[in-house]
């Protein structure tokens, strides 16, 4: 039987969950024996295979129209979708801006910061994606497995992926359900 294919991507997050993924150290070799690691933000291949993968992983919440597109594409191309980390599961740190609104957050970041002079302006290139309310991935597409944590531990990520690779649904337990 072919090894299950795994692809990942990151959205409105800090890449910390992917760092935590790498934190599994030499177990990554063990993992590659179990799965075929395809597109990830830290490998050359950037987009999940058109013919689909078995497991899709998304880090980060949905903060703009581009994040939405990526999430929809990943959902369409994977059998199981994993929301990795507090931002993907709950909205996380970027969701803090929901309390004041994107407008105020952009103004603060691009105009009002102490290091910005009078030339500061909010980027408005038409090619840029549209900023939205920050949402968890599950608000945009169906999520099969939630792995909260800021970041989830390497142990938790290894456990979830190895369970999925072996055709089992990972348990919700003290290891896999730890919010921060």
């Amino acid at each position: 039987m072919a090894k299950p294919k795994v692809a990942s991507d990151w959205l409105a997050g800090c890449a910390g969950c992917h760092m935590s993924f790498l934190d599994m150290d030499e177990r990554i070799i063990e993992l590659t024996k179990l799965v075929d690691l395809r597109a990830t933000p830290i490998t050359d291949l950037k987009e999940p295979d058109e013919e689909g993968v078995d497991v899709g992983i998304l880090e980060g919440g949905i903060s703009n129209s581009y994040n939405e597109e990526v999430a929809i594409k990943m959902r369409a191309r994977c059998k199981y979708l994993v929301a990795l980390g507090d931002c993907a599961v709950f909205g996380g740190v970027p969701a803090m801006r929901n309390f004041c609104g994107a407008e105020a957050a952009l103004k603060r970041a691009y105009i009002e910061t102490e290091s910005t002079d009078e030339s500061g302006k909010i980027p408005d290139d038409p090619e840029l994606s549209t900023t939205t309310h920050v949402r968890p991935v599950s608000d945009v597409v169906k999520v099969d497995i939630f792995l909260p944590g800021c970041a989830p531990s390497a142990d938790a990520i290894f456990y979830v992926l190895s369970e999925l690779a072996q055709g089992r649904v990972p348990e919700v337990n003290d290891l896999t359900n730890k919010w921060h």
Binding site: A83, D86, D139
Partner: protein, 633 residues
């Protein structure tokens, strides 16, 4: 007794118990948020919903009384779904993002409840509505965004502390926690006891100093006893890496429901006074650091050069019993010093001993305040000097409680009690005559009606208690005190004499002079430790010849001392404290300090060695022998 079954297991429980009590007695567990064992059942959060056979709907187990024959089920599809729904609603309402919060990862009951139900995401997206944050208070922050409206804080403030500062404003999902009628906490009637902060199940009320300093499990917990006053509240001293992080009331100790006051909870952690780090000798007006050896030799030489009346000593009541005993033995027995005093000018403990000689054991334990339905407070400011004992009276608002008080200065005790008679002054005999009925209560003041009600109610009270404080418990009032105790016996009232500061009671038993007529002397030693000198002792000390002080901090007494010795503070030394009601409590060491810091007791031992003396080790027998002759069990 009634019989119920919990998950098909039969249990027998007292009538009047709640369904939750029965569940816990049967060994099962249902999650709770608004419920707290120290508070009355409230039923706000609905997390404890259980199935009761025959009931139309799920029942909140914390408030529903158990009834005979009830069949209770705690873990069914229906209850699990209900708990998840309740939690989903709670998470959707405000900012419960754990990664922003210092209470995360073990310290939050809300988070724990979600873990317990296996929730790993929120089925309902949060509303993202910002709520009021009050950062005005120096000790803690109120963040309404994390509030789940369980009202534990409000109930603590009212039911346990009796201060009634906190309440709710607005309705439904807009409800917020406020102080008084919407004042900032710093401007409100808040007394900064922090009991609301400790009982908060989430991060809505959180301690400024210990926030982000480590989770509960990262901290070392040392169960100890507060030694700021002689009430002796149990508290847990929390440290990390040998550093004081926070002090909490000890809910497990079951003393005054684990309450603390500002002095017991925040003052020691907020302390920024400059420590004396090594022995210092004043030479040509300047303080020179010296070795302990040199400092002790200087001390010993001064003692050798003077004798009896030429030596004047004073010790602070914050010192443990072991030290007070050694201090007495060293200076009174060995050196026959002219003065061996306990700082504070409060002789109430000695008066209590004096009265016990005539009346036998006549005092009660502090718990008498809890049981009381009427209290007569004579010459004490319970809120200022013994705050948690004050809580025990002022929290009786909702009961038919009566307070009669004669106080030297107006105080805050009983501000919420309606049936009260407060007289300001120090003519205790006058009030006694009124209370005893030998004199009519004549007053046309606005409060007179309540005063008369109070007097009537006192006559009908089942558990009256008479509390005597430092302004009344003085030698010149002995006759009135005798009359008071006789009166107490005639109406079957319990009596409590509030005894000075922390260890005054032990000091009195050891025969230290509690109301010394302080005199300056050629050589004076002040064992101040981490306490504060009373004005009279300070003045006499300043006028003395060679001035030796052992003080933890630089302060007015070290300002012109000739020899300054550093001193361990309360959390660096283990020792016993005799509370006002005769409980011998142990203050445990929570912090280890470097060897330059020594306790007063260690210094006395060092000096004894130098003088070839041996101090007796037994400090305890004297105390325990005396306690039984004064306080009733």
């Amino acid at each position: 007794m009634i019989n119920v079954t919990v998950n098909n297991l039969p249990v027998e429980i007292e009538a009047g118990a709640t369904v939750l009590d029965a569940i816990q007695l049967a060994g099962f567990n249902v999650p709770t948020l608004c419920h707290h064992p120290k508070l009355k059942p409230y039923g706000a959060c609905r997390l404890c919903l259980v199935e009761v056979e025959g009931a139309r709907k799920l029942q909140p187990s914390c408030v529903v009384p158990a009834a005979d024959g009830m069949k209770i089920h705690t873990d069914t599809d229906k209850t699990r779904a209900a708990r998840k729904f309740v939690l989903s609603m709670l998470f959707s309402e405000r900012n419960h993002f754990c990664m922003y919060c210092q209470s995360t990862d073990g310290d939050c009951d809300l988070q724990q409840s979600a873990y317990r139900e296996g929730m790993n995401h929120w089925p309902i997206t949060p509303a993202y509505k910002p709520f009021y944050v009050d950062t005005s208070h120096p000790d803690f922050i109120l963040d309404n965004n994390r509030c789940i409206l369980c009202r534990r804080c409000i109930r603590t403030c009212g039911e346990l502390v009796g201060n009634h500062t906190l309440s709710m404003e607005e309705r439904g999902s807009a409800t917020i926690l406020i102080a008084d009628h919407g004042l900032q906490l710093s401007e409100s009637t808040c007394i900064s006891c922090g009991n609301c902060v400790q009982i908060c199940p989430t991060g809505a009320l959180f301690d400024r100093r210990s926030a982000y300093q480590g989770r509960e499990t990262d901290l070392v917990h040392t169960p100890s006893v507060c030694m700021d006053c002689s009430v002796g509240c149990h508290r847990v001293v929390k440290t990390r890496d040998n550093r004081l992080v926070r002090i909490d009331g000890d809910y497990d100790a079951n003393f005054v429901q684990g309450m603390l006051c500002e002095k017991g909870r925040y003052t020691p952690v907020a302390n920024k006074m400059e420590r004396v780090q090594q022995p210092l000798i004043r030479r040509n007006g300047e303080l020179i650091p010296v070795s302990w050896e040199e400092a002790l030799s200087t001390f010993a030489t001064q003692l050798k050069a003077h004798a009896g009346e030429e030596i004047s000593t004073c010790i602070h009541g914050r010192q443990p019993a072991e030290t007070l005993s050694a201090f007495r033995d060293f200076f009174k027995t060995e050196f026959e010093a002219g003065q061996v005093a306990l700082c504070g000018q409060d002789e109430s403990a000695a008066i209590a001993l004096e009265l016990a000689k005539e009346f036998g054991p006549f005092e009660s334990k502090l718990e008498a305040l809890d049981e009381a339905d009427a209290a007569v407070v004579l010459g004490a400011d319970l809120i200022k000097d013994y705050q948690v004992a004050g809580f025990m009276l002022q929290r009786k608002l909702s009961e038919e409680f009566v307070l009669i008080q004669m106080t030297k200065k107006p105080n805050k005790l009983g501000k919420n009690i309606s049936r009260k008679l407060i007289m300001v002054g120090d003519n205790y005999a006058d009030l006694l005559d009124v209370v005893a009925g030998s004199k009519a209560y004549e007053s046309d003041s606005a409060d007179a009606r309540y005063g008369r009600m109070a007097l009537e109610a006192l006559a009908a009270a089942q558990h009256p208690v008479i509390v005597i404080g430092k302004w009344f418990a003085r030698k010149e009032n002995m006759d009135q005190l005798r009359r008071t105790i006789e009166f107490a016996r005639s109406i079957n009232a319990k009596v409590l004499i509030m005894k000075g500061n922390t260890n005054s009671f032990a000091g009195a038993i050891y025969g230290l002079d509690l109301r010394a007529n302080y005199k300056a002397a050629p050589v004076a030693f002040y064992a101040l430790g981490d306490g504060k000198a009373c004005p009279k002792s300070l003045e006499a000390f300043k006028n003395s010849g060679y001035k030796i002080v052992q003080s933890s901090y630089f302060n007015e007494i070290t300002a012109d001392a000739d020899l300054i010795l550093p001193c361990k503070i309360w959390d660096e030394e283990e020792g016993h404290y005799l509370t006002t009601d005769g409980r011998l409590e142990l203050n445990r060491q929570a912090i280890t300090v470097h060897e330059q810091q020594r306790s007063v007791r260690e210094v006395l031992m060092n000096l004894s060695e130098k003088s070839g003396l041996t101090l007796k080790a037994d400090w305890q027998t004297e105390l325990t022998d005396k306690i039984s002759s004064i306080v009733l069990a």
